[in-house]
């Protein structure tokens, strides 16, 4: 298994950006958790759309409109299969995870009241905190935090204690962007359902790296962002169980989402259109489908194995550098390493690595509560993808050592 299952040299040729230089050095892109790079198959899909069949969908009788509609709805089916949803109409196109979460949070305004509780994990991205805080403000419900350990793992016993008949909703990421932890969401979902609560899982960081089966998980809502899945920015999806989506009121009003409109009353369109007001990001949706085709052609399991290998390799090398402290040391992790070096500010390290052509993320990673938990201003985060190599990790390690010498 591992390396030999993927032909990385060949794969790298699919990504035009990997040929570029940054500050005179070949780019090493280790900021995949922020956004992934785009293969030419996806870029070509966008060019093809605008070159050959750009048209508004669902409305026209003409050929272009039909081709565009078919491609867009075809992409929805690809997303359905990628996440193994039961029905295509359970996939709602959104602009990304943030939009997906806000859509659900807005809908839940109708279902919550004072005294109800929403449980959120301690390691969430701000996108999976703030919409729930706003929901609680609107409804008088309260937000409770599922705590985590120093290793960056959820404390499941505390979670069990927090669950009660007041719990209406549990929200958690599948994988933490700040730490890389893969959370035990199957157990989390089962326990929530036992308590009568619905569950939303933020899949922004998991969907690119591990196989997700929403039916097996029995999750109520699941989200993803195409730009982390080798697709374009500005498009993503919300999976919702039919029953939930039917109950949830629409989020935005406009064209596309209606069945009939008079000034007295409007009836809403069926799923999924009820949640898709206005002309959508058509090229983005189609390209999202192309990105999933691309990932499928490589194979998510193969990607998972290969990236795990990179994670183990990099973690070992990095740990050997004196003063390095890694945040998020769970055994179950995707290929994300968040770390600091004693006496060195992450910003300084990130600046010098950039000078050497290495792109990492520094700062709080939109997860300030996680940084507060560790009492640090931020970390340096290296996150790998299947197009990264051990040679790049070697160069990264050398660069970290060099930067450390300069900074201390």
């Amino acid at each position: 298994m591992t390396e030999n299952t993927l032909d990385i040299t060949q794969i790298r040729k699919d990504f035009p950006i990997l040929n570029r230089k940054v500050n005179g050095n070949p780019l090493i892109y280790f900021d995949n958790a922020a956004t992934s790079q785009t293969p030419k198959q996806v870029i070509d899909t966008i060019v093809d759309y605008y070159s050959n069949y750009n048209a508004n969908i669902h409305r026209g009788v003409h050929a272009l409109a039909q081709e565009a509609t078919e491609a867009y709805e075809g992409a929805r089916t690809k997303i359905q299969h990628f996440f193994n949803a039961a029905k295509a109409h359970e996939i709602i196109f959104t602009s990304g995870t943030t939009h997906s979460i806000n859509l659900v949070a807005n809908g839940f305004t109708a279902f919550l009241k004072k005294g109800d509780e929403v449980l959120v994990s301690a390691m969430e991205h701000h996108s999976n905190i703030v919409p729930w805080q706003m929901l609680c403000e609107r409804t008088g419900a309260s937000l409770k935090v599922i705590p985590m350990s120093k290793e960056g793992e959820l404390l499941m016993d505390s979670y069990r204690d927090l669950l009660s008949d007041r719990t209406k909703l549990v929200v958690c990421n599948h994988v933490s962007n700040a730490l890389g932890t893969i959370n035990p969401i199957q157990e989390l979902i089962t326990l929530a359902h036992d308590a009568g609560a619905a569950v939303l899982i933020d899949g922004a960081q998991s969907s690119p790296h591990i196989k997700v089966d929403v039916q097996k998980l029995d999750v109520d809502f699941y989200t993803a962002s195409a730009h982390k899945l080798c697709g374009p920015t500005g498009i993503g999806m919300l999976y919702g169980k039919s029953a939930w989506l039917a109950k949830l009121p629409p989020y935005q009003g406009g064209g596309e989402m209606i069945a009939e409109v008079t000034f007295e009353k409007t009836t809403y369109a069926d799923l999924p259109y009820k949640f898709e007001a206005g002309t959508p990001n058509i090229s983005g949706g189609i390209a999202f489908g192309a990105a999933l085709d691309y990932l499928n052609s490589i194979g998510i399991e193969a990607i998972e194995d290969y990236e795990h290998d990179l994670l183990i390799y990099a973690t070992k090398q990095l740990s050997e550098i004196e003063g390095v402290k890694i945040y998020g040391t769970s055994k179950n992790k995707t290929a994300v390493i968040s770390f600091n070096i004693q006496g060195i500010h992450p910003y300084d390290m990130g600046t010098l690595l950039d000078k050497m052509g290495i792109a990492v993320r520094t700062g709080h990673h939109c997860a300030q509560p996680v940084m507060d938990y560790y009492k640090i201003p931020g970390t340096i985060r290296a996150s790998f993808s299947f197009y990264n190599t051990k040679e790049e990790i070697n160069r990264f390690i050398e660069a970290v050592i060099k930067a450390k010498k300069m900074l201390r």
């Binding site: 500010h345 910003y347 300084d348 600046t351 000078k355 520094t362 201003p377 931020g378």
Partner: protein, 140 residues
């Protein structure tokens, strides 16, 4: 020395370096020479917003000249603020207000001028000039 003269001097110093490493090593050195802010002034009020690292700046009049002290938790940021303070400290507020900061580009730190970089060089310059404006009104 006037602000312009100091800036010319800094441009001269940086022109000796032919790669980024030397430039950054020098900045790190400069960071260590930063006139440090007194602990009592390291308050949230004195933090410059928009920096990924924390930067505190304090300004005080000595006669008709403005004197700056500062600190940061990141060393490269300290180097940058040290360069700014070297040009602006012990100058008249009006001269600080009028000063041009194009020399930053000439010493190869242009990338730090991007407002998206979140290191706050732009915010630092703005803050130093705001202090100058405030003290200028006081002098008038």
């Amino acid at each position: 020395m006037s602000i312009q003269e100091i800036q010319d001097e800094i441009v001269d110093e940086f022109s000796m370096f032919d790669d980024w490493m030397q430039r950054y090593e020098y900045m790190i050195e400069l960071g260590k020479s930063l006139p440090l802010i007194k602990e009592q002034y390291k308050t949230d009020d004195n933090i410059i917003k928009g920096c990924q690292s924390k930067v505190w700046v304090h300004a005080e009049l000595e006669g008709d000249k403005l004197v700056f002290t500062a600190d940061s938790d990141a060393i490269i940021t300290k180097g940058i603020i040290a360069i700014l303070i070297r040009t602006f400290s012990h100058q008249k507020p009006q001269d600080i207000i009028d000063a041009n900061t194009g020399f930053i580009d000439q010493i190869g730190l242009k990338e730090h001028l991007s407002p998206t970089r979140a290191n706050g060089l732009v915010s630092m310059i703005k803050q130093l000039k705001l202090y100058a404006v405030a003290y200028q009104t006081q002098l008038n």
